[in-house]
C-alpha cells in the first residue's frame, strides 16, 4: 500500500506547537509522509497546501479556543474545491461538546490532551484502509 500523506497544520494565531510537532514526528515514525505547515496559518493557506500537496489527511492542532471558527472554515474550503475526500482530524484544548458539534459537521475524530500518539496512528490507518477500500 502507498504511504499515507498527512498535512499537520496550526490554524490561527495560536503559538502552541509542542503537540503538533510531537504528532508530526510520531506519524512520520509510523511510516506516513508528513508535511508540517508551521505556525499562524489561515484556513485558506491550509486548504491550499492540502490540495497542492495532495494529502489524504489534514491534522489540525488548535489550543486557542478558536476551533469553532477555524475548523469549519477548513472543511468548507476543501469542500468548495471538491476535496471532501480528505480527512480533517485534529486535536487540542477543545471541550467535548464542541468536538461533538465539529464531528457532526464533518470532521473526523478529534482528540484531547493525554491521547497516546499510537491512538492517532491507529485511527488514521484504519480510516485510510476503509477509505481506500471504498474508492477502489
Amino acid at each position: 500500500m502507498r504511504p499515507i500523506r498527512v498535512l499537520v497544520a496550526k490554524p490561527g494565531l495560536d503559538g502552541h506547537d509542542r503537540g503538533a510537532k510531537v504528532v508530526a514526528a510520531a506519524l512520520r515514525d509510523a511510516g506516513m509522509e508528513v508535511i508540517y505547515t508551521g505556525l499562524h496559518q489561515t484556513p485558506e493557506m491550509i486548504a491550499t497546501a492540502a490540495i497542492h500537496e495532495d494529502v489524504d489527511v489534514v491534522g489540525l492542532s488548535i489550543l486557542s479556543g478558536a476551533h469553532m471558527t477555524l475548523i469549519p472554515r477548513v472543511l468548507d474550503l476543501l469542500r468548495a474545491d471538491g476535496r471532501d475526500d480528505i480527512l480533517v482530524t485534529g486535536g487540542g484544548i477543545i471541550p467535548r461538546e464542541d468536538m461533538d458539534a465539529l464531528e457532526s459537521r464533518g470532521t473526523g475524530r478529534l482528540f484531547g490532551p493525554g491521547t497516546p500518539t499510537s491512538d492517532l496512528v491507529d485511527y488514521i490507518r484504519e480510516w485510510f484502509e476503509a477509505h481506500e477500500a471504498q474508492t477502489a
Binding site: 499537520v8 490561527g12 494565531l13 495560536d14 503559538g15 502552541h16 506547537d17 509542542r18 503538533a20 510537532k21 510531537v22 508530526a24 514526528a25 510520531a26 512520520r28 508528513v34 508540517y36 505547515t37 508551521g38 505556525l39 499562524h40 489561515t42 486557542s64 479556543g65 478558536a66 469553532m68 471558527t69 477555524l70 484544548i93 471541550p95 467535548r96 484531547g112 490532551p113 493525554g114 497516546p116 500518539t117 499510537s118
Partner: protein, 554 residues
C-alpha cells in the same frame, strides 16, 4: 579542613561504601525517573557536599543561593498573582476586582491571541479568536476600561505581552496618565522577552534585530521615566512548557538574559542603569527537589555572571528576582481534580525555592479557561501554604540538605556546560536563526512523550491508575460568543470618537523615526495617547522592520 574533619569524612566514606553494598544487593523497584531523565542517587551524604562554599552562605549575601533578602518571607510574603483575562475589558475588569477582593495582592494580565500578535480585534486575522484566551486590548480605550476603578499607583500589574510589548506598555502608561497617577510611581512588569518567543512561545512580530532594538529602547526610556518598572521578565516558563528539561530551561533562559545585558551594554548603557529592572519567570514542574535546586542555582549563576562577566556593581543588578508559575503542562484532562494536588506540591517547591511572586494554575486549565471557583481554589492553595504550613517561617529551609545542595551544584555545572554549547553555535541569536535551540527543546519534548507512552514515566490518571472516563465532574467556563461582537462595537465607537487629524501624523512620525536610531518609546507613547490602535502602531513599524519568518521543522 582540619585533620579531625578529614578523618570523619574518611569514616563516612567507609560507611557509605558499606551502605552501598547492602543497597546494591537489595531488591528494588525499577521506576526511578527524574523529570529531566537524569539519574538520581539513592542517598546523599556529607561526601557529596564536602568543601561546598554555599553551605557557608546566608540569605541576602552574594551569590544569593539562599535567597535575595536577609529576611526571607519574614519581611514580605510572596505576591499572590493570578494570571487572568478573558473576553472584553469590562469582563476582565470585573474578574480583577473579584480577585483583589479575595485577597490577591497583584494583577497579571492575560491577553487574547490577536493582542499577543499585535492585531486589532477588528482585523480579519482576529476573527474567532477575540477574547478567547485572554482579554482583547486594541487601544488605550480598552486599557482604560481594563483598569477602571483600580488605582495603578497602588496595585502592581504584570502583563504577558512580547512581540508588541512596547505598544501595550505605552497603552498602560497612557492609561495611568489618564488616571492622574505619577508615571514614575508605576510598579509592575511587562514580559517583553522576545528571545523566548522565537525559542518557544511564538508570539512574535518583528525579526530578531529590530525586536532587540525595541527592548533596549525600552531599557533606556524606562530607566529614566518609570524606574520601578520591570522592563523584561526573562522567561523560562514557555521554554519548559514547550518541552525543555529543567537544565535546558535554566541555561536557555539565563543565556537570553545575558544576551539582553550584552545588547544594553552595546548601546552604551551602564549595566547598573538597567540590570536592576530585569526580572525572571520560572516554570515549576513536578520534580520537587529538582525545581527547588533549579531556583537556587539560577540565583547563583545570575549573580556570578553579572558581577564577574558584566562588571555590575549595584547589588540590585546581581540579585535575581523572579515570578513562578506552576507547570501547566503537568495538568491532566483526565481526573482533573488531581490537578489541585499537583499544583499544591509545585507551589510549595516555588516557595521553598524563594519565589517573589506566584501563580498557581487552576484544575480545569487543560480543558478551558478557569472558572471563578477553580481560580479560587488555586488562590486558596497559596494562602494555605502561606498561613498554615509554616513553610515561609525559615529562609531557604532546604539549604544544607546534602541532596539539594549537591543538585544545585550539579544544575549549575550543567547550565555552564550548555552556555559553552550555545557559544559554540554562535550565541543565542544565531542559535535561534539556525533552529538549534528550538531543536534541543523539540527533542526533549519527543523524549518525554516517548517515556510516557512506554510507561517509563507515570502520569497518574493518564497512563496508570486510569479510570473509565465518565462525564466530566467539574464545570467549565464558556467565553460567550458575544464577546467578539461586543468588542467590535467598542472598536467602532472608539474609531468614530477619536481625533483622526492626530492619528496619521503620529503614525507617520513613528514610521520615520523607526528608520533612524532614535529611541522609539516616546513616539509610541504619543501614538497611544492619540488612540492609534495596536495594529496601526504595529504596522507603522513593520513597514520599516519587516516581519519574522520562523524556521519550520519537526
Amino acid at each position: 579542613m582540619t585533620t579531625a574533619e578529614m578523618l570523619e569524612l574518611d569514616r563516612l566514606r567507609d560507611e557509605v561504601a558499606q551502605w552501598r553494598a547492602r543497597f546494591d544487593a537489595a531488591k528494588k523497584r525499577n521506576t526511578l525517573f527524574a523529570n529531566s531523565g537524569d539519574v538520581v542517587e539513592p542517598l546523599y551524604t556529607a561526601l557529596d557536599v564536602a568543601g561546598d562554599a554555599s553551605m557557608l552562605e546566608v540569605p541576602g549575601e552574594f551569590p544569593f543561593t539562599r535567597g535575595i533578602h536577609p529576611t526571607g518571607y519574614r519581611g514580605k510574603l510572596w505576591t499572590m498573582r493570578q494570571f487572568a483575562g478573558f473576553g472584553t475589558a469590562p469582563e476582565t475588569n470585573a474578574r480583577y476586582k473579584y480577585l483583589l477582593a479575595q485577597g490577591q495582592t497583584g494583577l497579571s494580565v492575560a491577553f487574547d491571541f490577536p493582542t499577543l500578535m499585535g492585531y486589532d480585534s477588528d482585523h480579519p486575522r482576529s476573527e474567532g479568536e477575540v477574547g478567547k484566551c485572554g482579554v482583547a486590548i486594541s487601544s488605550l480605550a480598552d486599557m482604560e476600561t481594563l483598569f477602571d476603578g483600580i488605582p495603578l499607583d497602588k496595585v502592581s500589574v504584570s502583563m504577558t505581552i512580547n512581540g508588541p510589548a512596547v505598544i501595550l506598555f505605552a497603552f498602560y502608561v497612557a492609561a495611568a496618565e489618564k488616571q492622574g497617577v505619577e508615571v514614575s510611581e508605576l510598579r509592575g512588569t511587562i514580559q517583553n522577552d522576545i528571545l523566548k518567543e522565537y525559542m518557544a512561545q511564538h508570539a512574535w512580530v518583528y525579526p530578531i534585530e529590530p525586536a532587540l532594538r525595541l527592548i533596549v529602547d525600552n531599557f533606556e526610556w524606562s530607566a529614566r521615566e518609570v524606574p520601578l518598572w520591570n522592563t523584561v521578565s526573562i522567561s523560562g516558563y514557555h521554554i519548559r512548557e514547550a518541552g525543555a528539561t529543567a537544565v535546558q530551561e535554566l541555561a536557555f533562559t539565563l543565556a537570553d538574559g545575558f544576551t539582553y545585558v550584552e545588547r544594553g551594554i552595546a548601546r552604551g548603557l551602564d549595566v547598573d542603569d538597567f540590570a536592576p529592572r530585569l526580572s525572571f519567570f520560572w516554570d515549576i514542574h513536578n520534580d520537587f527537589f529538582e525545581e527547588i535546586a533549579k531556583l537556587r542555582a539560577a540565583r547563583r549563576i545570575w549573580a556570578r555572571h553579572m558581577k564577574e562577566r558584566f562588571g555590575a556593581k549595584d547589588v540590585r543588578s546581581l540579585i535575581m528576582r523572579f515570578h513562578s508559575q506552576t507547570a501547566g503542562v503537568t495538568l491532566t484532562a483526565q481526573q482533573p481534580m488531581n490537578n489541585v494536588v499537583r499544583v499544591a506540591y509545585q507551589a510549595m517547591a516555588a516557595v521553598l525555592g524563594g519565589t517573589q511572586s506566584l501563580h498557581t494554575n487552576s484544575m480545569d486549565e487543560t480543558l478551558a479557561l478557569p472558572t471563578e471557583q477553580a481560580v479560587e481554589v488555586a488562590l486558596r492553595t497559596q494562602q494555605v501554604l502561606a498561613y498554615e504550613t509554616g513553610v515561609p517561617n525559615v529562609s531557604d529551609p532546604l539549604g544544607g540538605s546534602y541532596y539539594v545542595e549537591a543538585l544545585t551544584d550539579k544544575l549549575e555545572a550543567e547550565a555552564e556546560a550548555l552556555f559553552e554549547k550555545i557559544a559554540e553555535v554562535g550565541g543565542v541569536v544565531r542559535g535561534l536563526e539556525t533552529g538549534w535551540l528550538q531543536r534541543q527543546i523539540s527533542e526533549s519534548s519527543s523524549r518525554q512523550q516517548w517515556e510516557i507512552e512506554q510507561h517509563r514515566r507515570t502520569i497518574v490518571g493518564v497512563n496508570d491508575f486510569v479510570t473509565e472516563e465518565g462525564a466530566l465532574t467539574i464545570p467549565l467556563l464558556k467565553v460567550s460568543a458575544d464577546a467578539e461582537r461586543y468588542q467590535l462595537a467598542r472598536m467602532a465607537k472608539m474609531r468614530a470618537a477619536r481625533d483622526d487629524s492626530v492619528v496619521k501624523p503620529r503614525l507617520d512620525a513613528l514610521r520615520a523615526a523607526a528608520k533612524t536610531d532614535e529611541n522609539l518609546m516616546p513616539l509610541i507613547l504619543d501614538c497611544a495617547r492619540a488612540y492609534c490602535t495596536l495594529y496601526e502602531i504595529r504596522a507603522a513599524m513593520e513597514e520599516v522592520f519587516g516581519a519574522y519568518r520562523e524556521p519550520v521543522f519537526f
